[in-house]
């Protein structure tokens, strides 16, 4: 479970930009998976490809959560809890939590990713961060491979626009040009 937990947490974190949300999403996803497994026939269970299925559940939980999230969703009576007030001031569009601790380039990329619409963010995260293949992403997102490719591409175009010249600065050695070598 450790490996799945780590992967799903990483995915949920990139989707939400918030550690607390990501942990709750993973917890919900596992509970949903557990319930769903209990309702499946042995044949269904045998046919199940666990990893993509868990990503799908995690994504659904994330979608529900981000849809239900109101910007004013502050802890009850945050007054007596200065941490809660701090959290409140960070509400609104999702922001990577630890920006200040991280080096600027990473924070820039994290923020850029969070600016993408959710379906493009999911495609880009699965492709480049989770390292999933197009057919795997198609299975996770229940989309045709062509759609996945086009979403990945659109995500990259937008990120390229947001990051602009920062892209080259990201790596001290410059960008590796695997295919042109």
């Amino acid at each position: 479970m450790d490996d799945y937990q780590r992967r799903l947490y990483g995915f949920a974190l990139r989707m939400t930009g918030n550690r607390e949300d990501a942990e709750e999403i993973v917890q919900d996803a596992f509970v949903r998976a557990y319930r769903a497994l209990g309702k499946m026939s042995p044949e269904q269970r045998a046919d199940l490809r666990l990893q993509p299925w868990l990503y799908t559940i995690t994504l659904n939980v994330t979608r529900n959560r981000l849809r239900g999230k109101r910007p004013t969703n502050v802890a009850l009576d945050a007054l007596a809890d200065p941490d809660a007030i701090l959290r409140e001031s960070n509400e609104g569009p999702p922001q990577p939590e630890a920006i200040v601790e991280q080096n600027t380039e990473i924070a820039l990329v994290e923020r850029a990713l969070l600016q993408l619409p959710m379906h493009l963010r999911a495609a880009a995260t699965l492709r480049f961060i989770e390292g999933r293949s197009h057919p795997e992403i198609a299975e996770i997102l229940h989309q045709p491979i062509g759609t996945v490719k086009s979403h990945v591409h659109r995500a990259v175009r937008i990120l390229r626009r947001i990051l602009g010249p920062q892209i080259g600065r990201f790596s001290p050695e410059g960008v590796p040009m695997h295919a042109l070598s």
């Binding site: 479970m1 937990q5 780590r6 947490y9 990483g10 990501a22 942990e23 709750e24 993973v26 917890q27 919900d28 596992f30 509970v31 557990y34 319930r35 939980v61 529900n64 959560r65 849809r67 239900g68 109101r70 004013t72 502050v74 802890a75 009850l76 009576d77 945050a78 007054l79 007596a80 809890d81 200065p82 809660a84 007030i85 409140e88 991280q102 990473i106 990329v109 994290e110 990713l113 880009a124 492709r127 961060i129 390292g131 293949s133 197009h134 490719k149 990259v156 990120l159 390229r160 990051l163 892209i167 080259g168 990201f170 790596s171 960008v175 590796p176 040009m177 695997h178 295919a179 042109l180």
Partner: protein, 243 residues
């Protein structure tokens, strides 16, 4: 090969694609500076994303998941049923089990699935949707006319002893009146625990019934409320609070 066709193949180059295909794309890229530039940027973005760190979840996440699932598996643990009940405040979601109310959530337009998931996480119990029984409708009607709840029909046993003490102290504040966090802390014999009281209020699984809306800043300011400061003011006004 046209530029558009080549662009569609960029991502293929990252995987195991045919050598001949790779060569065709490379030939085009070498001959076409604009495609080459775009491709470099594409690879740059992909590289940036692949470099993002993979933060670890907190070490007790697995434990939480296992506990939550164990609670679902537990024999004799009948689930908490969550029903929507019409009230003067609009729809209110109420979770109950064995004739006792264990969870309350005002309707914020959040999908039912998410309300159920939130209740399940908070109480670490299985929560399922269901219809509101008559006793529940009657109990809520009575609550909205008296603004007090009969202790026998609420269940806070899933909470820690500290949380239970805080909520019981808050319940002693008469309707239409307010007290400070420090007052609640003093009531439970922990005068220095005002902040901890605030945190319990923030996670109150039974808002309205355990009136965290009657607990305010020492200066008397209402400050924040999960359902918005306007809701806090509205609840106090409905109870007859006059500043």
């Amino acid at each position: 090969m046209r530029c558009r066709d080549v662009e569609a193949l960029w991502d293929e180059l990252r995987g195991e694609c045919q050598a001949s295909l790779k060569e065709t794309v490379h030939v085009h890229l070498r001959a076409c500076p604009s495609c080459q530039d775009m491709y470099e940027q594409y690879e740059g973005v992909a590289y940036c994303l692949s470099c993002l760190p993979r933060p670890e979840p907190s070490c007790d996440l697995a434990k939480k998941v296992i506990q939550h699932i164990a609670a679902l598996k537990g024999k004799g643990h009948s689930p908490i049923v969550l029903s929507a009940v019409a009230t003067p405040l609009g729809r209110v979601f109420v979770g109950f089990k064995h004739h006792r109310i264990a969870y309350v959530s005002l309707d914020t337009g959040e999908p039912l699935d998410e309300v159920i998931a939130r209740a399940g996480r908070r109480l670490r119990r299985e929560v399922v949707p269901g219809d509101a029984p008559l006793w529940l409708v009657v109990a809520l009607e009575k609550f909205f006319s008296t603004w007090t709840i009969d202790d026998a029909i609420v269940d806070i046993s899933a909470l820690t002893p500290f949380e239970q003490a805080v909520l019981r102290a808050a319940a002693r504040i008469p309707p239409g009146e307010v007290r400070s966090y420090a007052w609640v802390a003093t009531q439970i014999g922990r005068p220095r625990a005002a902040r901890a009281v605030g945190r319990v209020m923030a996670r109150n699984p039974l808002p309205l019934l355990f009136p965290c809306h009657r607990v305010v800043d020492s200066s008397g300011e209402l400050h924040n409320y999960y359902y918005g400061i306007e809701m806090k003011a509205r609840l106090l006004e409905m109870e007859g609070y006059r500043r």
